[in-house]
């Protein structure tokens, strides 16, 4: 990936910023310019809640070269507390038995890096909420 591609997308990657259609009361993450239900182009940015519930998860073993050092890692479907569904990576799960229905929260984490001297890419992952 190149610096420009990375730079222009960083807002929604660093923070859970979605686009919101007032007419449909529908939120989109990742954000998009046009509502998929009504065609509204006047969507506004809203911050999504940082907490939600794990709906389904999978441990990924076969992956891209950029993520192979990280594997196995977990991808989950998360229903945030406002009802928005997102698909994201889970982290800090080594000591935990994952189950559908557990509470998770968003955290800022490194995603991958372009070799020893390349860019380091950051984004949002989710971790189980400690009780």
């Amino acid at each position: 990936m190149s610096a420009p591609i990375y730079w222009r997308e960083k807002l929604y990657r660093y923070r859970l910023v979605a686009s919101y259609c007032d007419k449909c009361n529908k939120k989109y993450y990742p954000p998009r310019p046009v509502c998929l239900q009504c065609g509204n182009t006047e969507l506004r940015e809203v911050k999504l809640p940082n907490t939600g519930t794990l709906i389904s998860f999978t441990t990924v073993y076969q992956t891209f070269p950029e993520f192979s050092k990280l594997a196995p890692y977990v991808i989950g479907i998360i229903r945030l507390d406002d009802g928005t569904t997102i698909v994201a990576q889970l982290t800090d799960v080594d000591q935990i038995e994952l189950k559908e229905g557990i509470r998770v929260e968003a955290v800022f984490r490194k995603m991958y890096e372009d070799g020893e001297s390349g860019l380091i890419y950051y984004g949002t992952k989710f971790r189980p909420v400690s009780r």
Partner: protein, 382 residues
């Protein structure tokens, strides 16, 4: 829809062709299709390849292949629509003929992922999903199916062995199919004890790395000179769906539902008229979701239908007589054209797992997790 016919087919063995290039595979399939058509000279080549720009770093591929096939000057175009590129290429070729511009169009699908390491193939396949989101977050093609796999088992109380049985079915069919990649049976225990790709999805539930090229000569009606061999392209329907992350129901493929509604509107097709079905079962779990989204099984019933033998050669809905994506193989841009090749063989009465009295066959393809889908209905000429 149309008066467009398939007058020739050609294909290579699906395999890992270490010693052949993307061009050599294309040539082999194209020459066979031209020969099979009674040596028709195509007016155009419509090429389907989805990943050559990633895997071979080659663009303008259709013009390159045109020259390699020995045509010094010939209309050509590449069509790309992810894993359903081949179906889209057939659609474009059909339109070129229906418009009256051309009489014979060679549709050629080719892919050669074995030129790269499996991880790089995996990364290239992620290019058919929005890389800004899915790749960036480490969300693989297989992981989406794995997420849905768990939801399906939970929602309907179905065991993994009943879903993984679709891989066993594909292998059982491929044993007889001369062009299939894996011509051996596998047991359910072997499938379930294979390594995880993205748990619960096992390696033997996932499509392999497949190289191959397949070709069709598509012709206007006046070009049909062998009615016993010609197969009618009765109808093509396509539809699309929201990207996975925006969906509200993960267990229904809307693109397939929309495409099938459109197809039935165009053709008055009744379910019982479908003599055989080729589906894009890139992973075992895709099979029940496809069959149920098409309405050919009630929700949660597809695995039961498999168990009861309804998808066998002599069942009510013969499924993947070619061996499907698991065992025939999945050379991405060529896959839908291999599916159509199998349908043509069935309708000619020359298939390895021949369905008796086959008159109408349905071919289903899709990209990713049904982000885009195609249905192609084929009918015997006579």
């Amino acid at each position: 829809m149309s008066e467009v016919y398939i007058t020739g087919i050609g294909y290579t063995q699906v395999s890992e062709h270490w010693v052949k290039s993307i061009k050599q595979l294309s040539l082999e399939a194209a020459v066979k299709a031209i020969k099979d058509s009674g040596y028709k000279k195509p007016d155009s080549i419509v090429l389907s390849s989805s990943l050559a720009s990633f895997l071979q770093h080659q663009e303008a591929l259709s013009n390159l292949i045109r020259e390699y096939l020995g045509f010094s000057n010939l209309h050509n175009i590449k069509v790309e629509a992810g894993e359903c590129s081949g179906s889209a290429a057939v659609e474009v070729a059909t339109s070129l003929i229906n418009s009256g511009r051309f009489k014979n169009v060679l549709v050629l699908g080719v892919e050669k992922p074995s030129d790269k390491l499996p991880q790089e193939f995996n990364a290239s396949l992620s290019s058919t999903l929005d890389r800004d989101y899915y790749f960036y977050n480490g969300i693989t093609h297989a992981s989406l199916f794995a997420l849905v796999y768990k939801l399906y088992m939970k929602q309907y109380g179905i065991k993994q062995e009943d879903i993984a049985a679709f891989a066993v079915h594909d292998h059982a069919m491929a044993v007889n199919v001369d062009y299939a990649q894996y011509r051996f049976p596998i047991s359910i225990d072997r499938v379930l004890s294979s390594p995880n790709v993205s748990e619960p999805l096992k390696l033997f539930e996932a499509f392999p790395t497949s190289d191959g090229a397949s070709a069709l000569m598509i012709s206007s009606k006046d070009q049909v000179d062998n009615p016993d061999y010609a197969v009618k392209l009765e109808a093509i329907s396509s539809a699309s769906d929201l990207s996975f992350v925006y969906r509200s129901d993960f267990l229904s493929f809307n693109s397939l539902r929309f495409a099938f509604e459109d197809l039935r509107k165009k053709t008055k097709l009744a379910k019982k008229d479908i003599n055989f079905l080729e589906i894009h079962d890139s992973y075992s779990i895709a099979a029940p979701l496809i069959i149920e989204s098409l309405g050919l099984a009630e929700k949660s019933e597809a695995c039961k239908m498999l168990k009861e033998g309804e998808f066998e050669k002599d069942g009510t809905l013969p499924l993947n007589m070619s061996g499907g994506l698991k065992a025939r193989g999945h050379p991405i841009g060529a896959t839908p054209i291999y599916q159509i090749v199998e349908a043509v063989l069935q309708l000619r009465g020359k298939a390895s797992n021949q369905v008796s009295n086959a008159e109408t066959g349905l071919v289903q393809s899709m990209s990713n997790i049904a982000d885009q889908a195609y249905l192609i209905l084929l009918r015997r000429y006579k």
